[in-house]
Symmetry: C2
Subunit: 193 residues, 2 copies
Protein backbone atom coordinates (compact mmCIF):
# COMPACT_ATOMS: atom_id res chain seq x y z
CA UNK A 1 0.00 0.00 0.00
CA UNK A 2 1.89 2.99 -1.35
CA UNK A 3 0.14 5.50 0.91
CA UNK A 4 1.34 3.68 4.01
CA UNK A 5 4.86 3.16 2.67
CA UNK A 6 5.13 6.86 1.87
CA UNK A 7 3.86 7.76 5.31
CA UNK A 8 6.40 5.46 6.97
CA UNK A 9 9.19 7.04 4.89
CA UNK A 10 8.01 10.51 5.86
CA UNK A 11 7.03 10.12 9.51
CA UNK A 12 8.53 6.82 10.66
CA UNK A 13 11.67 7.00 12.75
CA UNK A 14 14.34 4.30 12.56
CA UNK A 15 16.16 3.60 15.80
CA UNK A 16 19.11 1.42 16.64
CA UNK A 17 18.33 -2.27 17.00
CA UNK A 18 15.92 -2.39 14.05
CA UNK A 19 13.27 -0.42 15.91
CA UNK A 20 10.80 1.39 13.65
CA UNK A 21 8.75 4.00 15.44
CA UNK A 22 5.41 4.87 13.87
CA UNK A 23 3.97 6.44 16.99
CA UNK A 24 2.98 9.70 15.32
CA UNK A 25 0.36 8.04 13.10
CA UNK A 26 -0.24 4.41 14.14
CA UNK A 27 0.36 3.40 17.73
CA UNK A 28 0.30 6.39 20.06
CA UNK A 29 -1.19 9.17 17.97
CA UNK A 30 -3.55 7.61 15.42
CA UNK A 31 -4.37 8.98 11.97
CA UNK A 32 -7.98 7.91 11.44
CA UNK A 33 -8.27 8.81 7.71
CA UNK A 34 -5.18 6.62 7.17
CA UNK A 35 -6.88 3.81 9.09
CA UNK A 36 -9.88 4.21 6.80
CA UNK A 37 -7.66 3.82 3.75
CA UNK A 38 -6.21 0.72 5.37
CA UNK A 39 -9.74 -0.58 5.89
CA UNK A 40 -10.56 -0.15 2.19
CA UNK A 41 -7.34 -1.92 1.23
CA UNK A 42 -7.93 -4.85 3.59
CA UNK A 43 -11.46 -5.18 2.19
CA UNK A 44 -9.98 -5.35 -1.32
CA UNK A 45 -7.33 -7.89 -0.25
CA UNK A 46 -9.83 -10.04 1.67
CA UNK A 47 -12.70 -9.50 -0.76
CA UNK A 48 -13.47 -13.22 -0.95
CA UNK A 49 -13.20 -13.87 2.78
CA UNK A 50 -16.23 -14.52 4.94
CA UNK A 51 -15.62 -12.44 8.05
CA UNK A 52 -17.95 -12.76 11.03
CA UNK A 53 -15.64 -11.05 13.46
CA UNK A 54 -12.35 -9.21 13.71
CA UNK A 55 -9.97 -10.22 16.50
CA UNK A 56 -7.17 -7.99 17.68
CA UNK A 57 -5.12 -7.52 20.82
CA UNK A 58 -4.85 -4.58 23.14
CA UNK A 59 -3.78 -1.89 22.96
CA UNK A 60 -2.45 -0.61 19.66
CA UNK A 61 -4.38 -3.05 17.46
CA UNK A 62 -7.75 -1.80 18.68
CA UNK A 63 -7.94 1.49 16.80
CA UNK A 64 -7.06 0.02 13.43
CA UNK A 65 -9.38 -2.96 13.99
CA UNK A 66 -12.37 -0.75 14.84
CA UNK A 67 -11.97 1.49 11.82
CA UNK A 68 -11.26 -1.49 9.51
CA UNK A 69 -14.36 -3.32 10.82
CA UNK A 70 -16.54 -0.68 9.19
CA UNK A 71 -15.58 -2.18 5.81
CA UNK A 72 -16.46 -5.73 6.91
CA UNK A 73 -19.70 -4.89 8.80
CA UNK A 74 -18.67 -6.99 11.76
CA UNK A 75 -17.90 -6.56 15.45
CA UNK A 76 -14.38 -6.40 16.87
CA UNK A 77 -13.17 -8.47 19.80
CA UNK A 78 -9.93 -7.56 21.48
CA UNK A 79 -7.86 -10.08 23.42
CA UNK A 80 -6.88 -8.76 26.84
CA UNK A 81 -3.48 -8.93 28.43
CA UNK A 82 -3.61 -10.33 31.97
CA UNK A 83 -6.69 -11.19 33.90
CA UNK A 84 -9.25 -8.54 34.79
CA UNK A 85 -11.57 -9.10 37.73
CA UNK A 86 -14.45 -7.88 35.57
CA UNK A 87 -13.90 -10.72 33.11
CA UNK A 88 -15.83 -13.50 34.74
CA UNK A 89 -17.00 -16.73 33.20
CA UNK A 90 -14.98 -19.01 31.06
CA UNK A 91 -12.33 -17.76 28.73
CA UNK A 92 -9.78 -18.95 26.21
CA UNK A 93 -6.24 -18.23 27.32
CA UNK A 94 -2.77 -18.32 25.87
CA UNK A 95 0.60 -16.77 26.60
CA UNK A 96 2.30 -14.20 24.37
CA UNK A 97 5.88 -13.06 24.68
CA UNK A 98 6.39 -9.37 24.04
CA UNK A 99 9.85 -8.45 22.83
CA UNK A 100 8.98 -4.77 23.13
CA UNK A 101 8.17 -5.06 26.81
CA UNK A 102 10.45 -8.03 27.49
CA UNK A 103 7.84 -10.04 29.34
CA UNK A 104 5.28 -12.79 28.87
CA UNK A 105 1.59 -11.89 29.01
CA UNK A 106 -1.39 -14.06 29.73
CA UNK A 107 -3.85 -13.23 27.00
CA UNK A 108 -7.54 -13.98 27.27
CA UNK A 109 -10.74 -13.86 25.28
CA UNK A 110 -14.13 -14.60 26.77
CA UNK A 111 -15.75 -17.75 25.39
CA UNK A 112 -18.87 -15.63 24.89
CA UNK A 113 -17.23 -13.85 21.96
CA UNK A 114 -15.52 -16.60 19.98
CA UNK A 115 -17.71 -19.50 18.87
CA UNK A 116 -17.10 -22.72 16.99
CA UNK A 117 -17.48 -22.04 13.29
CA UNK A 118 -16.90 -18.27 13.51
CA UNK A 119 -14.86 -16.93 10.60
CA UNK A 120 -12.33 -14.61 12.16
CA UNK A 121 -10.02 -12.02 10.60
CA UNK A 122 -7.05 -11.05 12.74
CA UNK A 123 -5.99 -7.39 12.51
CA UNK A 124 -2.93 -5.91 14.20
CA UNK A 125 -0.60 -2.98 13.74
CA UNK A 126 2.75 -4.78 13.71
CA UNK A 127 4.13 -8.19 12.78
CA UNK A 128 7.74 -9.02 13.69
CA UNK A 129 8.45 -12.39 15.27
CA UNK A 130 4.76 -13.27 15.15
CA UNK A 131 4.20 -13.99 18.84
CA UNK A 132 1.06 -11.89 19.13
CA UNK A 133 -0.52 -13.19 15.93
CA UNK A 134 0.34 -16.79 16.78
CA UNK A 135 -1.29 -16.32 20.17
CA UNK A 136 -4.43 -14.97 18.53
CA UNK A 137 -4.47 -17.89 16.07
CA UNK A 138 -4.24 -20.27 19.02
CA UNK A 139 -7.19 -18.58 20.74
CA UNK A 140 -9.26 -18.89 17.56
CA UNK A 141 -8.33 -22.56 17.10
CA UNK A 142 -9.07 -23.28 20.76
CA UNK A 143 -12.55 -21.91 20.14
CA UNK A 144 -13.07 -24.17 17.14
CA UNK A 145 -13.35 -21.04 15.01
CA UNK A 146 -11.75 -20.50 11.60
CA UNK A 147 -8.80 -18.19 10.92
CA UNK A 148 -10.02 -16.45 7.79
CA UNK A 149 -6.87 -14.39 7.45
CA UNK A 150 -4.43 -12.01 9.06
CA UNK A 151 -4.23 -8.32 8.16
CA UNK A 152 -1.21 -6.36 9.37
CA UNK A 153 -0.32 -2.70 8.91
CA UNK A 154 3.48 -2.97 9.11
CA UNK A 155 5.45 -6.21 8.81
CA UNK A 156 9.14 -6.43 9.56
CA UNK A 157 9.97 -8.74 6.66
CA UNK A 158 13.43 -9.49 8.00
CA UNK A 159 11.98 -11.15 11.09
CA UNK A 160 10.50 -14.62 11.07
CA UNK A 161 6.83 -14.01 11.92
CA UNK A 162 5.47 -13.46 8.43
CA UNK A 163 7.21 -16.50 6.95
CA UNK A 164 5.97 -18.79 9.73
CA UNK A 165 2.37 -17.69 9.22
CA UNK A 166 2.50 -17.91 5.41
CA UNK A 167 4.16 -21.35 5.63
CA UNK A 168 1.14 -22.58 7.56
CA UNK A 169 -1.03 -21.66 4.58
CA UNK A 170 -2.74 -18.80 6.38
CA UNK A 171 -3.78 -15.86 4.21
CA UNK A 172 -1.59 -13.04 5.51
CA UNK A 173 -1.67 -9.55 4.05
CA UNK A 174 0.69 -6.85 5.29
CA UNK A 175 0.12 -3.36 3.91
CA UNK A 176 3.80 -2.47 4.16
CA UNK A 177 6.65 -4.98 4.48
CA UNK A 178 9.96 -3.56 5.59
CA UNK A 179 12.81 -5.56 4.01
CA UNK A 180 15.56 -3.58 5.63
CA UNK A 181 16.25 -0.29 7.31
CA UNK A 182 19.29 1.64 8.37
CA UNK A 183 19.20 3.91 11.38
CA UNK A 184 22.38 5.71 10.34
CA UNK A 185 21.26 6.75 6.86
CA UNK A 186 17.53 6.72 7.67
CA UNK A 187 16.86 4.62 4.57
CA UNK A 188 14.15 2.01 4.46
CA UNK A 189 13.50 -0.63 1.79
CA UNK A 190 10.04 -2.11 1.30
CA UNK A 191 9.27 -5.49 -0.27
CA UNK A 192 7.69 -5.24 -3.70
CA UNK A 193 4.08 -6.49 -3.48
CA UNK B 1 -28.94 8.59 24.26
CA UNK B 2 -31.91 6.25 24.09
CA UNK B 3 -30.20 3.76 21.78
CA UNK B 4 -27.40 3.20 24.28
CA UNK B 5 -29.76 3.04 27.27
CA UNK B 6 -31.87 0.43 25.50
CA UNK B 7 -28.76 -1.56 24.61
CA UNK B 8 -27.55 -1.48 28.22
CA UNK B 9 -30.97 -2.68 29.40
CA UNK B 10 -30.94 -5.49 26.85
CA UNK B 11 -27.32 -6.65 26.90
CA UNK B 12 -25.77 -5.16 30.02
CA UNK B 13 -25.32 -7.48 32.99
CA UNK B 14 -25.59 -6.19 36.56
CA UNK B 15 -23.33 -7.92 39.06
CA UNK B 16 -23.01 -7.68 42.82
CA UNK B 17 -21.07 -4.67 44.06
CA UNK B 18 -22.58 -2.25 41.53
CA UNK B 19 -20.65 -3.78 38.65
CA UNK B 20 -22.21 -3.20 35.23
CA UNK B 21 -20.81 -5.42 32.52
CA UNK B 22 -21.12 -4.13 28.96
CA UNK B 23 -18.47 -6.41 27.55
CA UNK B 24 -20.67 -7.79 24.77
CA UNK B 25 -20.89 -4.44 22.97
CA UNK B 26 -18.47 -1.88 24.47
CA UNK B 27 -15.32 -3.10 26.16
CA UNK B 28 -14.39 -6.60 25.04
CA UNK B 29 -16.56 -7.20 21.99
CA UNK B 30 -17.22 -3.85 20.32
CA UNK B 31 -20.30 -2.90 18.29
CA UNK B 32 -18.93 -0.52 15.67
CA UNK B 33 -22.27 0.76 14.30
CA UNK B 34 -23.20 1.64 17.90
CA UNK B 35 -19.88 3.51 18.23
CA UNK B 36 -20.76 5.42 15.06
CA UNK B 37 -24.10 6.45 16.57
CA UNK B 38 -22.19 7.57 19.66
CA UNK B 39 -19.89 9.59 17.41
CA UNK B 40 -22.84 11.40 15.82
CA UNK B 41 -24.30 12.13 19.24
CA UNK B 42 -21.02 13.46 20.65
CA UNK B 43 -20.68 15.67 17.58
CA UNK B 44 -24.17 17.05 18.26
CA UNK B 45 -23.42 17.58 21.97
CA UNK B 46 -20.04 19.19 21.30
CA UNK B 47 -21.13 21.03 18.15
CA UNK B 48 -19.65 24.31 19.33
CA UNK B 49 -16.39 22.85 20.58
CA UNK B 50 -13.12 23.36 18.76
CA UNK B 51 -11.48 19.96 18.80
CA UNK B 52 -7.92 19.54 17.54
CA UNK B 53 -7.38 16.15 19.09
CA UNK B 54 -9.16 13.39 21.00
CA UNK B 55 -7.39 11.96 24.04
CA UNK B 56 -8.31 8.59 25.51
CA UNK B 57 -6.63 5.91 27.59
CA UNK B 58 -5.84 2.33 26.77
CA UNK B 59 -7.38 -0.06 26.29
CA UNK B 60 -11.15 0.11 26.15
CA UNK B 61 -11.38 3.81 25.33
CA UNK B 62 -9.43 3.43 22.09
CA UNK B 63 -12.12 1.83 19.93
CA UNK B 64 -14.79 4.38 20.78
CA UNK B 65 -12.33 7.27 20.42
CA UNK B 66 -11.20 6.18 16.95
CA UNK B 67 -14.73 5.78 15.60
CA UNK B 68 -15.89 9.02 17.26
CA UNK B 69 -12.89 10.92 15.81
CA UNK B 70 -14.36 10.44 12.35
CA UNK B 71 -17.04 12.98 13.27
CA UNK B 72 -14.50 15.53 14.51
CA UNK B 73 -11.92 15.09 11.71
CA UNK B 74 -9.07 14.88 14.17
CA UNK B 75 -6.42 12.42 15.31
CA UNK B 76 -6.68 10.33 18.46
CA UNK B 77 -3.95 10.05 21.07
CA UNK B 78 -4.16 7.34 23.67
CA UNK B 79 -2.43 7.61 27.03
CA UNK B 80 -0.40 4.51 27.84
CA UNK B 81 -0.35 2.64 31.10
CA UNK B 82 3.18 2.01 32.35
CA UNK B 83 6.35 2.82 30.51
CA UNK B 84 7.15 1.21 27.18
CA UNK B 85 10.75 1.01 26.04
CA UNK B 86 9.63 2.16 22.59
CA UNK B 87 8.34 5.43 24.02
CA UNK B 88 11.46 7.50 24.09
CA UNK B 89 11.79 11.23 24.48
CA UNK B 90 10.05 13.37 26.95
CA UNK B 91 6.58 12.61 28.13
CA UNK B 92 3.85 13.89 30.39
CA UNK B 93 3.11 11.50 33.22
CA UNK B 94 0.53 11.05 35.93
CA UNK B 95 -0.76 8.27 38.15
CA UNK B 96 -4.21 6.75 37.87
CA UNK B 97 -5.79 4.43 40.38
CA UNK B 98 -7.85 1.64 38.85
CA UNK B 99 -10.58 0.30 41.10
CA UNK B 100 -11.30 -2.46 38.59
CA UNK B 101 -7.76 -3.77 38.74
CA UNK B 102 -7.03 -2.57 42.29
CA UNK B 103 -3.72 -0.99 41.40
CA UNK B 104 -2.10 2.31 40.52
CA UNK B 105 -0.84 2.87 36.98
CA UNK B 106 1.74 5.27 35.70
CA UNK B 107 0.11 6.87 32.68
CA UNK B 108 2.08 8.65 29.99
CA UNK B 109 1.63 10.69 26.84
CA UNK B 110 4.51 11.74 24.65
CA UNK B 111 5.12 15.48 24.58
CA UNK B 112 5.18 15.19 20.80
CA UNK B 113 1.42 14.67 20.75
CA UNK B 114 0.04 17.22 23.22
CA UNK B 115 1.01 20.82 22.61
CA UNK B 116 0.34 24.11 24.39
CA UNK B 117 -2.91 25.55 23.04
CA UNK B 118 -4.27 22.26 21.67
CA UNK B 119 -8.02 21.95 22.18
CA UNK B 120 -8.54 18.41 23.44
CA UNK B 121 -11.71 16.35 23.80
CA UNK B 122 -11.43 13.43 26.22
CA UNK B 123 -13.35 10.29 25.23
CA UNK B 124 -13.68 7.19 27.39
CA UNK B 125 -16.04 4.27 27.81
CA UNK B 126 -16.76 4.51 31.54
CA UNK B 127 -16.86 7.17 34.24
CA UNK B 128 -17.24 6.10 37.86
CA UNK B 129 -14.99 7.68 40.47
CA UNK B 130 -13.31 9.74 37.75
CA UNK B 131 -9.72 8.68 38.34
CA UNK B 132 -8.97 7.99 34.69
CA UNK B 133 -10.58 11.19 33.41
CA UNK B 134 -8.92 13.30 36.10
CA UNK B 135 -5.57 11.81 35.12
CA UNK B 136 -6.19 12.69 31.47
CA UNK B 137 -7.21 16.24 32.45
CA UNK B 138 -3.96 16.54 34.40
CA UNK B 139 -1.92 15.42 31.38
CA UNK B 140 -3.67 18.00 29.19
CA UNK B 141 -3.14 20.77 31.73
CA UNK B 142 0.52 19.78 32.14
CA UNK B 143 0.89 20.25 28.40
CA UNK B 144 -0.63 23.73 28.54
CA UNK B 145 -3.43 22.43 26.34
CA UNK B 146 -7.15 23.14 26.78
CA UNK B 147 -9.72 20.60 27.98
CA UNK B 148 -12.49 21.24 25.49
CA UNK B 149 -14.80 18.66 27.05
CA UNK B 150 -15.25 15.10 28.22
CA UNK B 151 -17.41 12.56 26.37
CA UNK B 152 -18.28 9.34 28.16
CA UNK B 153 -20.33 6.38 27.00
CA UNK B 154 -21.58 5.12 30.38
CA UNK B 155 -21.46 7.12 33.61
CA UNK B 156 -22.22 5.61 36.98
CA UNK B 157 -24.17 8.59 38.28
CA UNK B 158 -24.16 7.27 41.85
CA UNK B 159 -20.38 7.56 42.02
CA UNK B 160 -18.57 10.83 42.52
CA UNK B 161 -16.60 11.24 39.27
CA UNK B 162 -19.22 13.03 37.18
CA UNK B 163 -20.09 15.54 39.92
CA UNK B 164 -16.43 16.39 40.53
CA UNK B 165 -15.79 17.07 36.85
CA UNK B 166 -18.99 19.11 36.35
CA UNK B 167 -18.24 21.12 39.52
CA UNK B 168 -14.97 22.18 37.94
CA UNK B 169 -16.94 23.73 35.10
CA UNK B 170 -15.76 21.20 32.55
CA UNK B 171 -18.22 20.33 29.78
CA UNK B 172 -19.01 16.68 30.47
CA UNK B 173 -21.46 14.68 28.38
CA UNK B 174 -22.30 11.10 29.25
CA UNK B 175 -24.50 9.25 26.76
CA UNK B 176 -26.07 7.10 29.47
CA UNK B 177 -26.03 7.90 33.19
CA UNK B 178 -26.92 5.04 35.50
CA UNK B 179 -28.67 6.42 38.61
CA UNK B 180 -29.11 3.05 40.25
CA UNK B 181 -29.14 -0.63 39.49
CA UNK B 182 -30.15 -3.79 41.30
CA UNK B 183 -28.36 -7.05 40.64
CA UNK B 184 -31.16 -9.09 42.23
CA UNK B 185 -34.01 -7.77 40.11
CA UNK B 186 -31.86 -6.81 37.13
CA UNK B 187 -33.45 -3.34 37.04
CA UNK B 188 -31.52 -0.26 36.04
CA UNK B 189 -32.59 3.37 36.32
CA UNK B 190 -31.09 6.03 34.02
CA UNK B 191 -30.91 9.74 34.79
CA UNK B 192 -33.28 11.85 32.67
CA UNK B 193 -31.22 14.00 30.28
Amino acid sequence: MKLLEERIRRDGVIKKGNVLKVDSFINHQMDIPLFNEMGKEFKRLFADAKVDKILTIEASGIGIACVVAQYFDCPVVFAKKAQSINLDGEMYTTKIESFTHKRVYDVIVSKKFLHPGDHVLIIDDFLANGCAVNGLIELIENAGAIVEGVGIAVEKGFQIGGKLIRDRGIHLESLAIVESMDDETGTIVFREQ
